[in-house]
Amino acid sequence: SLTSKLDAIFKKLKGRGKLTEQNIKEALKEVRMALLEADVNFKVVKDFIQSVEQRAIGQEVMASLTPAQQVIKIVRDELTSLMGHGEERINLSGSPPVPIMLVGLHGCGKTTTAGKLARYFQERKKRPYLIPADVYRPAAIEQLQRLGQELGVDFYRPEPSQAPLDICLKGREFALRGGYDLMVIDTAGRLHIDEALMLELREIKASLKPKEILLVADAMTGQDAVNIAKNFNERLGIDGVILTKMDGDARGGAALSIRAVTQKPIKFIGVGEKLDALEVFHPDRMASRILG
């Protein structure tokens, strides 16, 4: 673990007398390694280490009897504060049905997460409505409808060859008439570099003015997490993030990358394939997981 690695380094260094700035920098190389092994973006790691170095080269570490623990504490605190505050709520202000839109790359878990969110609100005595706006993937609409059926949550039934924007507009009419509290819009997976599909999202945003545009991202995403998050945030604008597949053994460094480049909160994590597998995000737990 990182703690044992740092302990070993400092044990070796303390034998040579007083700790120097160079000693601290050596120790931080281990931290850098841990973050890179966790898939945190290379540039984000560089910035992070620089900011931590400032604090770590202070007197408190140099004169400490337990420098390894001091460094770990500084790193962990810094990482946790970068992760955000946790317990971020979904914005349900405004007149119902409040629109929540899920976006992201292919296969990251949007449709499943739409089902999970519907269940989350149902548990809190709200009436959610599901809008399946993915017209491209075979049986995507059916997939969301099945999840709705499983939960007893109502959903819009698109016409054959109805376009995504129209599905959202007509879906909203139904949701309005039906007196639902919120609507969760599932969109098709798309590349952040696909101009036409990013435009499609902007059009839906302009028409429906979602209170929450949530980027759904896979916890095992590598260095590309910065490109994905930056582009979705710049070209569309996101209000928050849901990190999926956290039930695996990916360290999840993508979380730090996404936070660093968007400053948007991670609101939930997906922790399984079933519809009850949605948890609130805990910044301190994520920090520990990333550090390893």
């Binding site: 092994e37 898939d39 292919h106 296969g107 049986a139 997939q143 995403t221 994905i228 990916a250």
Partner: protein, 279 residues
């Protein structure tokens, strides 16, 4: 290259950045850069261009060993059985459709077994693809035993004189022991009903995945043995560099790369093109 006239720490830093950005991962990047440092010490790499060339050649050396396309001799092996596996959402179902389409267009009779009996509309998704590529589909009700679907698929394939069978399995995290056990059973049933099968166990990896792809490949290989890899979503901005370390360590052939959502968006892996794209 990188605007440098001399080789210095700055150049090595920039190189390192390039390797990391391409998702080569810590272990493989360190390995390649160590090779560079050795070359510099021995005075073998004198200009920045030579350094870049060295790294490229090293990667090519590793990846060429993985450049092994699948050649099926149907006169020897019929039906030829694919078992397609991988973690959730990597593109297994879509990749099956693409490969099936290739063989179906060559006049081969294809059958697909919908052994993802868990996920909502998994079978329906495959049904659409099977219709599009002209493949038979074997399915059972949702929640049924995937091994039962595999069993039915093998028997139907023999009865209908099918050339090629694809068993589509549910996405599963490699860390879920019970799900990996399920996969073992599917493989065992396939082998029992068709000795020698599955002839290709294809692991589908997503190019946007980071170093977790290494654990995925290792674990799937450990549990059921992987004979081929398909690397999908290379049409994005992710470079899929993690495949370098995987190839070096596990020596599994890289059969295909996925470059889009369409039925034709499948290519054979080419080491040269892959390395060019990284730089």
């Amino acid at each position: 290259f990188l605007g440098k006239k001399t080789i210095d720490e700055g150049l090595l830093d920039e190189l390192e950045g390039l390797l990391f950005a391409a998702d080569l991962g810590v272990k493989t990047s360190d390995q390649l850069l160590e090779g560079v440092r050795q070359g510099l010490k021995k005075g073998e790499l004198k200009e920045p261009d030579k350094v870049k060339e060295f790294i490229k050649q090293e990667m090519l050396r590793i990846l060429r060993s993985g450049e092994k396309p699948l050649f099926i001799d149907f006169s020897q092996t019929r039906p030829f059985v694919f078992m397609v596996v991988g973690v959730n959402g990597t593109g297994k179902t879509t990749t099956i459709a693409k490969i099936a389409h290739q063989y179906s267009s060559q006049g081969r009779k294809v059958l697909i077994g919908a052994a993802d009996t868990f996920r909502a509309a998994a079978v329906e998704q495959l049904e659409v693809w099977a219709n599009r590529v002209g493949a038979d589909l074997i399915r059972q009700s949702r929640g049924s035993d995937p091994s039962a679907v595999a069993f039915d698929s093998i028997h139907a394939a023999k009865a209908r004189e099918i050339d090629l069978v694809f068993i589509d399995t549910a996405g599963r995290l490699h860390t879920k022991v019970n799900l990996m056990e399920e996969l073992k059973k599917v493989k065992r049933i396939i082998g029992r009903e068709c000795p020698g099968a599955p002839h290709e166990i294809l692991l589908v990896l997503d190019a946007t995945t980071g170093q977790n792809a290494i654990s995925q490949a290792k674990l799937f290989n450990e549990v059921i043995g992987v004979t081929g890899i398909a690397l999908t979503k290379l049409d994005g901005t992710a470079k899929g560099g993690i495949i370098v370390g995987i190839t070096e360590e596990l020596k599994i052939p890289i059969r295909y790369i996925g470059v889009g959502e369409g039925i034709d968006d499948l290519k054979e892996f080419n080491a040269n093109e892959f390395v060019q794209a990284l730089f």
